[in-house]
């Protein structure tokens, strides 16, 4: 109907599939995110470690070419570079921080504006459940952080395989599984925490501060706990340390796990995983408590 026909008409046409309707939220949000130069640039910047890794893998795969180019020093230096679990561990330790930065920047602004402006009744009075709402918001962060973690990670793995032989892929399948699982663990943990904070703190600046506080203040508290009580379990309060433990466990062999980990964090990797699971459960509870179409004043 043309715009000038100003009258109320019922809609009786076809409807879209309900199963994928939650993806409407990330579609709209991602359009907003990438319409701003700053966020677009920040996102591209977050891909830099992967680009560097890609170049290194390429050069390492073509190290012999440097001899042909009369650059034996370069070829020798690249010969020391080993594309293995440690290589991916270093890369994903860097990406852990960059993906956290993206989550910290975007996450607090996802739910807080809806709560501050009372938009939840509008979403939830439609055929759209609370779970779909949270899933929609969560998928914004998942899509963005996936694009700088496991998706380019798989590309790197494929690139390295193409540079060597299939046997490298079969020998290092642990890396492929590790980068996917590890990335998802980190993405879900950080995203859920940031959404939970966004649901509870209406002001974006305070929400971002709270998120940074959870990571950095809690980490400091964990270090102090370790120092005062002469224990290592305080490391469980440090989310980044927990994730590093998990990365090590996923990328390295069991035998090398304890030899490569700093003494203050030398606790079993599963405890770090459990700590993050507890945090995720708490975040989900906070979201379930707060994401309601109508607030009941008791």
């Amino acid at each position: 109907m043309a715009v000038y026909k100003r009258t109320y008409t019922r809609y009786t046409g076809a409807l879209t599939n309900e199963r994928w309707r939650f993806l409407i939220l990330p579609r709209y949000m991602l359009q907003s995110v990438f319409s701003k130069r700053f966020t677009g640039a920040a996102f591209m910047l977050a891909l830099v470690p992967h680009l560097i890794a890609m170049v290194l893998i390429y050069l390492r795969g073509n190290a012999t070419a440097f001899i042909g180019l009369d650059m034996p020093e370069a070829a020798r230096s690249l010969g020391f570079l080993s594309i293995d679990g440690n290589f991916f561990l270093t890369l994903f330790a860097a990406e852990t921080f960059l993906s956290f930065a993206i989550v910290a920047f975007l996450g607090p602004g996802l739910i807080a504006p809806d709560l501050a402006n009372n938009a939840l009744p509008l979403y939830l009075s439609r055929p759209f459940s609370r779970a779909e709402y949270v899933l929609g918001k969560l998928s914004i962060l998942i899509i963005l952080t996936s694009a700088i973690t496991w998706l380019p990670g798989i590309l790197l793995f494929v690139l390295q395989t193409s540079m060597t032989e299939w046997s490298w892929a079969s020998d290092n399948v642990r890396i492929l599984v590790g980068l996917i699982i590890g990335s998802w663990i980190w993405i879900l943990t950080t995203s859920l925490i940031s959404l939970a904070i966004s649901a509870w703190v209406k002001w974006r600046t305070i929400a971002t501060s709270a998120l940074l506080g959870i990571y950095f203040v809690a980490a400091g508290f964990g270090t102090v706990t370790n120092a005062i009580l002469d224990t290592r379990w305080g490391a469980l309060l440090n989310m980044a340390a927990n994730m590093r433990m998990v990365w090590r466990w996923l990328f390295l062999n069991e035998s090398t796990y304890y030899t490569t980990i700093p003494r203050s964090f030398a606790i079993p990797a599963w405890t770090g995983l459990a700590a993050m699971a507890v945090v995720c459960a708490m975040a989900l509870m906070m979201l379930a408590w707060k994401i309601r179409p109508a607030e009941v004043v008791r």
């Binding site: 715009v3 019922r10 009786t12 879209t16 409407i24 907003s32 009372n118 509008l122």
Partner: protein
Amino acid sequence: MREPGILQASAFRMAFIELDKLSLSLGGRPILKELTGSYSGRCIGLLGPNGAGKTTLLQTLLGFHPPTSGTARVFDLDIRTQLRKIRHHIGYMPENDAFVAGMTAIRFVRMMAEISGLPADIALERAHETLFYVGLGEARYRQLGTYSLGMKQMAKLAVAIVHGPRGVILDEPTNGLDPAGRIRMIQLVREIRDTQDINLIVSSHLLRDIEEFCDEVMIMKDGLIVTYCNLEEERRANRKFLQLETRGENGTFLEAAEALGCTCAVDTRANRVKMVLPETVEIHDLYRLAEEHKIQIRHLQYKRDSLHDIFMKAMEVGTANPGAKSQRLARPAGVVR
């Protein structure tokens, strides 16, 4: 894509809302108390004082609060088991501001249409149409956060109707509007009401607004529906309502009038009497009675029950007659003798 489970024309014959001992407690406090009834008005007004449970009833119908006991049906769909289907057919305009500040009106309305299940291209088309329809066509590319209160109300209405629902729930639609905005809103609601095949529920504190666009009225008090009446029938009722102002002791006069079959209510402070005359009694009979009982009729005018009277009466009757349906006032409002 799939075809929606659309209610066809036959849906109009079914009740819009059916309440079946619907009870709701929030925080241990009973808010809705065993509401029962079947309501099929095209535009139902929901009236009641603050805290009567109007908004809570609307929100319960939308599934915002699960009923403590009993149930309700909207277009014959149970709110306990078919909530998602109900929400396909309902548009909701909440009482308070509801928007996303960082979005333009067109984006927000379009997104809401898409969430309701409309394909993206149709959602965009309908968002444009709807914003023009509510009078925000020229402002549709402005951010919602920059809108005035009146514009926000219109934007909420646009969000409520963009997906072309079968029923629309409007909670205080004229809240905070200036006179021109109020008139525009009333006009829009009337237009929507007069569109074929749509039902509305309008909650409001303002009796005048309800009178403007509703054909049936549900009055709530303390979580109960104390009165439900058809305003059209009330308006058409061929009953003789009078308001008299008398001087002198009118006790015996009123007794004599009641003996003739009149129904009387007295406001002793103002010495006013509201009276319903049966078909057999004429005005000159009252003058005759006044003369016989030595009182003066200083003022006399025909006065049917206004919505205000109905409301005041309902507030007086209160819990005495909960769940009354299609109840017409037996007596005009006032201090009942």
